[in-house]
């Protein structure tokens, strides 16, 4: 599901949100609610909290559409990053398991954040890589079977698995705090 919205769509959506078009808000929700919800749920593993984060994400962009800058990346990444950041914030505020040291608590947060980022990377990677990973990981196909199923050479099958995992391994390096706005975004009239 690598559905990045083209820049012209992102720009026109931002414009419509800025104009205060309720129909644009509904359209935005329909397109990105499952992305925001899925990201937050992977971090929080709780329906009520996940719903709250989803609400916060849409409220952010609806209230200050200019916080999203199409020159810095697609709206899809913006929504995913916002959901991720808000979910991690919420997880940090949650009381940890009794007896957990601050370091253990920080590790829990880090693991949840990495898992959520990994999900995002999988949905955003090119479909051929994702299909290769899924066939081997979940359908337990070995390289040869997978190559046959996809009609590619075994060398290509290996290449896709390695490249896919390389992309995925960047999840551990992702920081939810990067790109955090220093102050609430200012709306340019």
């Amino acid at each position: 599901m690598a559905h990045e919205t083209p820049p012209h769509w992102d720009r026109s959506m931002r414009q419509r949100l800025r104009r205060g078009e309720a129909a644009a808000l509904a359209e935005l929700y329909d397109r990105f609610a499952s992305l925001a919800y899925g990201t937050a749920r992977r971090v929080l593993d709780d329906e009520a909290d996940t719903g709250e984060v989803t609400r916060e994400v849409f409220s952010l962009i609806w209230q200050s559409p200019h916080d999203f800058d199409p020159d810095k990346g697609p709206m899809r990444s913006w929504i995913a990053a916002a959901a991720h950041r808000l979910a991690v914030d919420r997880l940090r505020r949650r009381p940890g398991p009794s007896g957990a040291s601050p370091a253990e608590q920080a590790e829990l947060v880090r693991a949840a954040s990495t898992a959520a980022r990994a999900d995002y990377i999988v949905t955003a990677m090119p479909a051929p890589l994702r299909d290769a990973l899924e066939l081997t990981r979940f359908q337990r196909q070995d390289c040869r079977q997978m190559a046959e199923r996809l009609g590619i050479s075994e060398a290509e099958a290996r290449r896709r698995l390695r490249l896919g995992l390389q992309l995925l391994s960047s999840a551990a390096r992702y920081s939810p705090d990067a790109g955090r706005p220093a102050e609430p975004g200012r709306e340019h009239a």
């Binding site: 026109s12 359209e27 929700y29 919800y37 290996r158 390389q166």
Partner: protein, 384 residues
């Protein structure tokens, strides 16, 4: 690093690291890789990183978002920053129902698109059927939205025409797959979006704007008998069709499908209650009525039936029985010749031809012939 292997071997083993991390190479290959990892620090480091990455892979779960969350999130946003171009209340059910059906279609497996569906309606006091598939129902909805779309000045949807979409058109999730599964799916979704957007642009209170009745080619579809039809009713009519057919699809593929949000359901119940007098008169003209006619002269009060609809979409309606245009006073309401009580969803199912007059009412009181006529007239509101 000591490198007893030549570069070709190293490259070859390195290319296997992804497959090794996923346990997808042959035992022989795995053995070679592991021997190499003991000797090559660079590959060992990458191999460990890839194996950690492999543990992060999780099957993609279907999310199945609660439609209530959509309502809550949008309401919360609009409370924090009121829309400068709000969505009129009469377009809200169409917006919500189209989004719900789209989510249902997104969740369906490829073969489910070919599941048979039979569409049923009640005309001339007889049941008719049309057999189609899930994909056929979406096609039917697309066609059904056509007259309204044209009446409000929208072009025919893209998707059928690969040359171009409406401005800002964007393929949805898995758009390519959408077209393969059902050619009508994306054009239907695009058109529902355009219609919602158009409603926001046009705005107006309920009943404020009108369209020519002739634009719909089915005069009995809307309440009253004037030359013009309220735009608000035209949108409610399409919301109703969308929900009813989404229900058909959900039933065919055995997915649960809840009724619309309470306030939306009430608008749909109200639309059908207002359509009833015209349908009663139509059956009488066609000689199908079993209760004797009573001609009313101007100024004489006609008889009424008290329709009590229960549930979050419910309320009380007083249906004039003798003339579709007769107003109903409070006194007449008190003197209703019959009383029918039924559930909000059941009333809608009756009006959609999804349940029969015999099974619909949960409580009746009064003239049985009148009750029979009114329930049959409700069923006769159904359309192919």
């Amino acid at each position: 690093m000591s490198a007893p292997l030549d570069d070709r071997d190293h490259q070859d083993l390195m290319s296997l690291l992804g497959a090794w991390a996923l346990a997808a190479c042959t035992p022989k290959e795995a053995e070679r890789v592991e021997a190499h990892l003991g000797e090559c620090g660079r590959c060992a480091e990458e191999a460990l990183g890839l194996r950690d990455a492999a543990t992060l892979l999780e099957p993609q779960r279907s999310l199945d978002l609660d439609p209530g969350l959509r309502t809550a999130v949008l309401a919360d946003c609009l409370a924090r920053r009121p829309a400068r171009q709000p969505l009129p209340s009469w377009a809200a059910p169409f917006d919500a129902e189209a989004a719900r059906l789209d989510a249902l279609l997104n969740d369906m497996a490829e073969d489910e698109w070919r599941t048979p569906v039979s569409l049923r309606w009640f005309a001339d006091d007889q049941w008719s059927w049309r057999r189609t598939t899930v994909a056929g129902v979406v096609d039917h909805l697309l066609a059904g939205d056509g007259p309204l779309a044209r009446a409000v000045g929208l072009r025919d949807p893209a998707g059928t025409d690969p040359a171009g979409g409406p401005p800002g058109h964007l393929p949805d999730a898995g758009d390519g797959a959408r077209g393969e599964r059902c050619p009508a799916w994306q054009p239907w979704r695009d058109r529902t979006r355009s219609l919602v957007r158009k409603a926001g642009e046009l705005g107006g209170r309920t009943g404020e704007r009108t369209l020519p009745r002739a634009a719909f080619g089915d005069p009995g579809r809307f309440p009253g008998d004037g030359d013009r039809v309220p735009l608000s009713d035209a949108y409610l009519d399409r919301a109703f069709a969308c929900w009813v057919h989404a229900g058909d699809i959900a039933e065919a593929v055995e997915y649960p499908y809840a009724p619309p949000h309470g306030p939306h359901l009430r608008l749909l119940v109200d639309l059908n209650a207002r359509r009833l007098p015209g349908s009663i008169a139509g059956r009488r003209r066609a000689g199908l009525a079993v209760s004797p006619a009573r001609l009313t002269t101007a100024g004489t009060p006609g008889r009424t039936l008290h329709l009590e609809v229960e549930g979050t979409g419910g309320g009380h309606w007083y249906i004039p029985l003798d003339s579709p245009v007769a107003g109903v006073s409070r006194t007449q309401a008190r003197d209703a010749v019959a009383h029918v009580a039924l559930d909000d969803v059941v009333f809608c199912q009756l009006a959609a031809g999804r349940t029969s007059p015999e099974d619909a009412a949960s409580g009746v009181e009064g003239d049985p012939a009148v009750i029979h006529d009114v329930l049959s007239a409700a069923a006769a509101l159904s359309r192919p």
